[in-house]
């Protein structure tokens, strides 16, 4: 009994934290499902947005923190623009993800994490994104050697690809930015 009470209490506290940081009132969601009907990412989610909100309402915050929904939402904010109550659903999901990240409760699927990491490494190195380099590294590192290879003749024909990476002058400043961000991951 006492354990159960503790769990409920912890859930309530975490929900209050999510509501405080996002500025949203989770309890005002009445489960109409509009957010889920408009969401393009449900394919990659374990809980569509309205069920994600329901988890929070029920105090099952740990499940929300560990969910693929929190990790995979790419923030198109369509749900937020459609919510009849005016809840910024995307902000609630993003805030949950931030808390999950800070406490190491969950990680994105490995391909998605890899893509984000390689993207940022690429930017850190050159100051600007080198698209051809990103595709090459992603395919090598993920072992999906043929991913988007069908696009290569097309982008070559359309001259949409630069083989030499772009470079900014102040790359040292860029590296300072990355170092600063790394040491302060929780800054909001």
């Amino acid at each position: 009994m006492i354990e159960a009470a503790k769990t409920i209490r912890a859930g309530e506290e975490m929900l209050a934290e999510i509501e405080r940081r996002s500025g949203q009132d989770v309890s005002s969601c009445y489960q109409c499902g509009t957010c889920s009907s408009t969401c393009t990412a449900t394919l990659a989610f374990d809980y569509p947005p309205h069920l994600f909100m329901r988890l929070l309402q029920l105090g099952l915050v740990e499940r929300a923190l560990a969910s693929r929904t929190a990790q995979m939402c790419y923030d198109c904010m369509t749900c937020s623009s459609r919510c009849p109550v005016g809840i910024d659903v995307a902000d609630v999901i993003e805030t949950t993800k931030n808390i999950a990240d800070e406490s190491g409760r969950s990680r994105p699927p490995k391909e998605v994490a890899l893509f984000r990491r390689l993207f940022l490494r690429n930017v850190c190195r050159h100051g600007r994104l080198h698209e051809a380099g990103l595709l090459a590294w992603y395919n090598i590192k993920s072992g999906q050697f043929f991913n988007d290879l069908s696009l290569v003749p097309l982008v070559l024909r359309k001259k949409k690809v630069h083989l030499v990476p772009p470079r900014i002058r102040q790359r040292r400043e860029l590296r300072r930015i990355f170092r600063q961000a790394k040491t302060k991951p929780g800054a909001k």
Binding site: T40, M77, F115, K159, K160, K182, K184, A187, K188
Partner: protein
């Protein structure tokens, strides 16, 4: 003569060069001076805030705001993604003193972040009167059905962007109508194309973009018009992948806003980089139809 600092961003400097070319052409035609921002860097795009919680995205965008802040001119970012990140950084810096301090520390001086930032739609609406465009366009695109497709980052979140309606945006319409084109309502104009998941979770992009193309074709639309390089690539460059995945044979051109305006001004398809689109529209037929 109006003057703007110009933030092309990584896409316009490489895979979406036709957006850069056509934007510069339209600016030149209307006597707008664009000064490319010196030594600009990647805005952080979506992976920065998603990977390292916010702060990296703000710092990367802030460096560009800081460079722009040294001059007087407002900053224009035609890429919807860059525009969104720059506005977002501005919004956060305005409200968070600690973030401001941290940013100033990295930059080595007090961060200048208050330069006005505009997207292409807001900027061209400010600089070009529909009447003036219509006069030069002489109904060149009459009979062509061009539907604006806004996507997400150009209009959301409303409290950060503060321009146009986040669900039912309309601000591309006056100038598009001035080209002579018919501008039908497109129900999916602010739906998501699948964002940056093209490599890591291709099925998301293919499904989301397929839905948009299918709806546009069903509505008898000749081409979609967008202001976002990522949307453009998902809908255009990946249209072959979409057709293979869904057994369809769509050939729906997806133009940049500046290309549509450029065509109305009488610029040639080559000058506007129309031949860089994966699905090329039959411009000759469009122009003949109007003649």
């Amino acid at each position: 003569m109006s003057k703007y600092a110009y933030f092309p961003g990584c896409s316009l400097a490489s895979s979406s060069m036709e957006y850069d070319t056509s934007f510069r052409l339209v600016a030149r035609e209307f006597g707008i001076e664009l000064q490319e921002l010196d030594d600009w860097n990647c805005c952080g795009a979506s992976p920065a805030p998603h990977h390292w919680v916010e702060v990296l995205g703000v710092l990367l965008a802030a460096r560009n705001l800081h460079i722009a802040g040294a001059g007087e001119a407002p900053l224009v970012a035609p890429c919807a993604g860059c525009y969104n990140r720059l506005k977002h950084a501005q919004y956060k810096l305005e409200r968070n003193q600690e973030l401001r301090r941290q940013t100033s520390e990295v930059l080595g001086e007090e961060v200048r972040y208050q330069t006005e930032v505009l997207n292409i739609v807001k900027m061209l609406n400010r600089e070009i009167k529909p009447g003036a465009l219509a006069e030069r366009a002489r109904e060149r695109l009459a009979g062509v059905r061009l539907a604006p497709y806004y996507g997400c980052l150009l209009v959301r979140p409303a409290e950060v962007i503060g321009y146009d309606d986040p669900r039912d945006p309309k601000k591309m319409e006056p100038l598009l109508r001035a080209t002579g084109a018919e501008v039908p309502h497109f129900a999916l104009k602010s739906e998501c194309c699948g964002s940056y998941m093209g490599l890591a979770r291709k099925e998301i992009v293919l499904r989301a973009s397929h839905r948009i193309i299918e709806a546009a074709v069903a509505a008898g639309i000749d081409a979609l018009v967008t202001a976002c390089p990522l949307c453009q690539q998902n809908l255009d460059l990946r249209q072959g992948q979409i057709n293979r995945a869904f057994g369809t044979s769509f050939r729906l051109p997806v133009l940049y806003f500046s290309q549509a305006i450029g065509l109305a001004l009488g610029a040639s398809p080559e000058e506007l980089g129309i031949d860089s689109l994966a699905v090329e529209p039959d411009v000759d037929r469009w122009l003949k139809g109007a003649a």
